[in-house]
């Protein structure tokens, strides 16, 4: 005879089995998302047969988002989440870095490039049920421009400070933004104070997501204050992000490091292919791989290139993004007089065997760099070739400059990997041995990335160092403008005669309204930077990857790592 507890346990087990059975059969018979009814334009992948519309897509991220208001963000993990919740006036073409229509279904600039008219998409609703219209768009512009107090700190509003520079109450800084007015319900007219290559393309960046004005108001969105050791953020940024995207925010569980998003059933476009998306923060790369192997996540970002093959052998799909970055050796003549001679800098460049470095130290798909930005960016100079590996020429240039006995301190970052630099130590060693091969004495200095490396390079302590950049949007200015417009940053171009010439040329190119003329100017400038100025040595572009399980389809990778996960479906 069974005891009472055993009977209870057996009963519970039976119920459990019955329940799982039900869930299973429901899943099997559930209809595929029939055409995923959307209001119109579709550029997303159609759900494949057998896709489970009730599935939860679990993604392993390298870190947790800082908050959920992208206007106050500057890190990739935050934008990864907010990109699903929000949309911008403009968007990136899926799989590319080019911009296209987003919440503005069309837009055009005036002849002088100072007035931009955005036709707002009809029938779009925010997650709180309010409508998107031109007034809502202008409310967002006004919100950005009218930030006050501590919110103006560039540690809080990094992108606005760097792209638009200046707020309404700052008389000493001229902001790029002038005004936003509505000419009818669905037309917003934005005026800017000067012409720049980055406007309006910059509006596709995640930082310029369009929020629901009602939700911003209700949850006190602008209330950022510095309190002793840090900034405090309002409820809006922490718990109530409200956009128009294909996913709605459903909560953040800090104890588990999980952000949960739900399909927005009222989305204006193609609805998300999965019912839920959970983004788990798993900082340790090998743990992300193990989670994928154990089947507890469906994908993760930035798999280590040495694992790509093993992952594919296991049946996972490694999706290699187009490279939208640059790795360079930065040079800084402040502490090494010899570097002021361009022949020395050229010698350093000729001495490096880029081809071999790319072949042996960088992932499949990486390319040697001839200039400071990748091919996909407008203004790329196609005639320019990477410096050939020519040790003899390097030696003779050094001799000519009177520096045959050149000795240089070369900085190596530790405790870091970046998409453009998957294994800093091996890249460092390759360049170091190339330099030593032409008779240069290299004094290596290793410093932790956030423990002195970045500070030291910024403060001109490192004569030669490894650094790079991943583009935010398709603009030459985002690369060379960031590097060389300022004269007292890590490159310290103020040490060279060409400093003003270079700054002026960059500003002139950036403010040229005609795209074709601008591209021509940038292209010529690239040649000059690579051949005559050489404030640093472009090394390579290397593609970062993202990996998903075999059950996942529909993922479109983005060179900007700005993936839209609404096209993802899961077969299970």
């Amino acid at each position: 005879m069974l005891s009472r507890t055993t009977k209870a346990a057996v009963g519970a087990l039976a119920v459990a089995i019955a329940l799982t059975g039900c869930a299973q059969s429901q899943r099997d018979t559930a209809p595929a998302p029939a055409g995923t009814a959307g209001a119109g334009t579709s550029d997303s992948a159609a759900p494949t047969d057998g896709a489970n519309p009730d599935a939860t897509f679990i993604f392993g991220a390298a870190g947790a988002p800082k908050l959920f208001d992208p206007f106050y963000a500057s890190d990739g993990e935050t934008f990864r989440v907010t990109r699903q919740i929000y949309e911008q006036l403009l968007d990136f073409v899926p799989g590319e870095a080019k911009t296209t229509a987003g919440l503005a279904e069309s837009y055009e600039g005036s002849e002088d490039g100072l007035t931009w008219t955005f036709k707002i998409r009809e029938g779009v609703k925010f997650h709180d049920g309010t409508d998107l219209d031109a007034a809502a768009v202008c409310a967002n512009f006004d919100r950005w421009y009218n930030q006050t107090g501590d919110a103006q700190n560039s540690a809080v509003t990094y992108y606005w400070n760097n792209n638009f520079g200046g707020f309404a109450d700052q008389a000493d800084r001229d902001s790029l933004f002038e005004s936003c007015t509505t000419s009818d319900d669905m037309t917003a007219v934005v005026k800017v104070t000067r012409v720049t290559s980055k406007f309006p393309d910059i509006l596709a960046h995640g930082a310029y997501a369009i929020h629901s004005p009602a939700a911003l108001e209700e949850y006190d969105a602008n209330n950022v204050t510095a309190q002793g050791s840090g900034f405090t953020y309002p409820a809006y940024a922490l718990e109530h992000p409200t956009g128009t995207g294909a996913f709605k925010f459903a909560g953040y569980n800090d104890a588990n490091g999980e952000v949960t998003l739900e399909r927005n059933e009222d989305y204006w476009g193609d609805k998300a292919g999965v019912a839920k998306m959970v983004i788990r923060s798993i900082p340790d790369e090998s743990t992300r791989r193990q989670e994928l192997q154990a089947g507890t996540i469906h994908g993760y970002d930035l798999p280590n290139p040495v694992d790509w093959k093993a992952l594919e052998d296991d049946g996972a799909k490694v999706e290699i993004r187009p490279a939208f970055n640059i790795l360079y050796v930065g040079l800084n003549a402040t502490k090494n007089e010899a570097l002021k001679d361009v022949r020395v800098r050229q010698a350093l460049s000729y001495a490096i065997n880029r081809e071999q470095l790319v072949q042996s130290q960088l992932p499949e798909g990486a390319e040697p760099a001839s200039q400071f930005f990748p091919k996909a960016v407008s203004g790329y100079n196609n005639d320019l070739q990477p410096y050939p590996h020519d040790p003899e020429k390097a030696k003779s240039l050094l001799a000519e400059a009177g520096h045959s006995d050149l000795s240089i301190e070369f900085w190596q970052p530790t405790e870091v990997t970046r998409p453009y630099m998957p294994d800093p130590a091996s890249i460092f060693e390759a360049i170091r041995s190339d330099w030593e091969a032409v008779g240069i004495t290299v004094n290596p200095v290793a410093k932790p990335w956030t423990g002195g490396y970045l500070d030291g390079t910024e403060q001109s302590e490192a004569p030669a160092y490894l650094l790079g950049w991943t583009g935010d949007y398709d603009s030459a200015d985002n690369f060379i403008g960031t590097f060389f417009t300022q004269q007292d940053n890590a490159f310290a171009t103020k040490n060279y005669d060409f400093a003003n010439e270079l700054t002026e040329a960059l500003v002139a190119a950036d403010s040229e309204p005609d795209a074709a003329t601008r591209d021509q100017m940038v292209s010529e400038l690239n040649k000059k930077i690579a051949e005559e100025y050489l404030p640093g040595l472009p090394i390579s572009h290397s593609p970062p990857a993202i990996v998903v399980a075999s059950s996942v389809s529909g993922l479109v990778t983005s060179p900007l790592a700005a993936e839209d996960f609404s096209t993802v479906t899961i077969n299970e």
Binding site: T56, I58, G63, A64, K66, L67, S74, D75, D150, N153, S154, A155, Y158, A226, Q227, G228, S229, G230, F231, T232, Y233, A237, L238, D254, A255, N256, G257, E258, V278, R280, S281, I282, P283, D284, S286, T287, Q290, E291, Q293, A294, T296, R418, K447, P448, W449, T450, G451, G452, Y453, L454, D455, G456, E458, Q459, L467, G468, W469, Q486, D488, N489
Partner: protein, 336 residues
Amino acid sequence: MSRYIVRRLLQAVVTLFVLSVLLFAWLRSLPGGPVSALLGERSTPADRAALEAALGLDQPILVQYWRFLERASQGQFGVSTGVLPGRDALEIFLSRFPATIELSFFALTLAILLGVPLGYLAARRRGTFLDTGSVLFSLVGIAVPVFFLAFALKYVFAIQLGLLPPSGRQSVGINATHITGMYVLDGLMTREWDAAWDALRHLILPAVALSSIPFAVILRITRASVLEVLDEDYVRTAQSKGLRAPTIRGRHVLRNALIPVVTTIGLQTGALLAGAVLTERVFTFRGVGHALAYGFETRDYAVLQVLIMMAALVYILVNMVVDIAYAAIDPRVRVR
């Protein structure tokens, strides 16, 4: 007894104050700062200056420390810049601490349940296979780095055998109610058996990894201590008196041998907290250690200060309890 406790508490306050001064100065002398940690290659000298001004980091360190004390006296221990920006550092500690208690408790229990009996048996059967085997085993426990052990455990039990989850504290999709923040306990309290079971499964591998060093230390101390006591005159006297073996072992050998073991267990809580930083990080077990590791990466001064101070407080309190526990075990010790 109460006077003793008051005296120990006062000592603790002084210790914590000195620690806070050293910690404050040390953190700010670390190379790098919150801006480069947060912005990476996007940080510029201008960004850094702006942030330092807003947070008062441009002031002399004494001024900074004075302001810190002022705020601390009002119960404000600072706001996080990196771990969970905008949130109060003490709140972060309180929300993360249950996970660490749960993990440390399981790890320590495991270490004691295995270490004490094995150490005792090894001493009793000195020179046998059991003795050399367990000594060797404990050596491995001390020598193998936690991250390697963690990796091996995950590879075998999570990936090859698929028995246990490789990381985290809870499976996605488990809808559990949380009362204490200790997931196993919560599951038992709310009778959500599936949640308790799920949490326990997540706890096993990190607890085993974390227990490896305390287990080895406890085993070796127990063995050495039992061997020493077995040689004592009073044990021989007891034997010649004709006392029964179980009485000798229980009343005379074990009780006396356990005193150094209890001390060791107290000291091991310090090692547990240190080990938790690595273990929690590798297993993405989001407790205090996980926050501490991330706090260092992002140079989150406020969070680091609070977490380290609280860890020190816990360490002091645990060792106070251990001292009091002596009295219960050893009749010669009288606390005043």
